[in-house]
Subunit: 137 residues, 4 copies
Amino acid sequence: MANVFRTTRRIEFADTDMAGIVHFANFFRYMEAAEVEFLRARGLSVKLVWEGQSLGFPRVSASCDFLRPARFEDVLDVAVQVEKVGKKSVTYAFEFSLHGEVIARGKVSSVCCLIQENRELKSVPIPAGIRERLGSV
Amino acid sequence: MANVFRTTRRIEFADTDMAGIVHFANFFRYMEAAEVEFLRARGLSVKLVWEGQSLGFPRVSASCDFLRPARFEDVLDVAVQVEKVGKKSVTYAFEFSLHGEVIARGKVSSVCCLIQENRELKSVPIPAGIRERLGSV
Amino acid sequence: MANVFRTTRRIEFADTDMAGIVHFANFFRYMEAAEVEFLRARGLSVKLVWEGQSLGFPRVSASCDFLRPARFEDVLDVAVQVEKVGKKSVTYAFEFSLHGEVIARGKVSSVCCLIQENRELKSVPIPAGIRERLGSV
Amino acid sequence: MANVFRTTRRIEFADTDMAGIVHFANFFRYMEAAEVEFLRARGLSVKLVWEGQSLGFPRVSASCDFLRPARFEDVLDVAVQVEKVGKKSVTYAFEFSLHGEVIARGKVSSVCCLIQENRELKSVPIPAGIRERLGSV
């Protein structure tokens, strides 16, 4: 697959629940952390100042399918892909694997927002320079 | 809507992030807590002993659309509905509202599993008595 | 004991870890939530506008002794006490009980801070009106 | 200082709160993760099978002083030291630094417990082999 960013994630004790496996909500934290790593590799972030403007990328939707459990000390391989860059939004696809077997697949969509003086968010088109770095040329 | 279970959720300080709003991953915790409350109201739980067998309901998929942010001290209205009861799985739909306006909608699917001696999970048909209580008659 | 504020906390599934008990870090979230409830009962909060100034109460220290574990669905009794109100800081003592038996005791100290324009924090004396409500007359 | 184990921790977006800084409760998760890394470096863990017995190290107390805030994307230096190894318990001291300046100091004490068949915990003396690896000879 073209343009796949790869990282890893080691499961911490606090991420598990009484079923002895990673609590499902934590996969959404893992996705965000992988997204941030991907963006950092391209000189971006989920919160950044771009051409003098303070931008953020709040999530508008998130989903995940859980195929197999992950456990304490597992080191997951995480693949990040930019699935779609729209005018104002970007959608990432994530794949979590353990020993070569996919254990979870997720998606997260974020909207580019201007963080205004009063801290209110206002959706705006993704600046051309950011689009380029996201690989959507 | 028939059979809607309603509860509320007050946003805690620790649930917010640096954007000043509830971090999106927390909505998945909120959904689970609402599901547990719903089940408790029907004499069930996400982990229970049923006719001598230890059962759990691990999640196989979860999704959420975020329409508007929630903030510290907001008291959200949460509506829970059993959307579908399959042979082995159950899907819940959740709606979060603030002052009458929907701010997020989510779904979670769980699979009925037998918790075996070695703590491994094995999917099994949902017992008839539990199906009844879930309202799937 | 004089001036004890009491509330309860029901343990959620996501609060447990693979040892089958509440992960210890969650007790610090529980303490903060109880503190917020206590403050709300007195018309205050951990973040508020007071006489035109934006104030916050960041934590400067926190500790907890864990005597017995808490488990999923347990409903803990939480006692909150203002232990000490200094010039700029306030220390709370918390006691968690289950069925009348103390299972954890903790303390949290916060410093009154002015939230400046640039969002930087600057410690300031606790306003007289807030001191009064904290019961430190 | 003798026997200091060093690691790092990058602050994630989900670790921040609406004050724009790391929520204090997360430092307890960071301490545990650093402890686990330290133990792994010595062939141990917070949950392990040792000479045929299943052992765990539940926390009996934890404390932290917060000197300066940490923020999103900060990379903290974490120093871990075994402060004391008692007959059944071990106390770790942690120091978090940013750019050479200490921002937080914490301690965690754990008790060596046998995880019994029924998953109940029973405190036991720390096995000699584990004591040695903890550096308490």
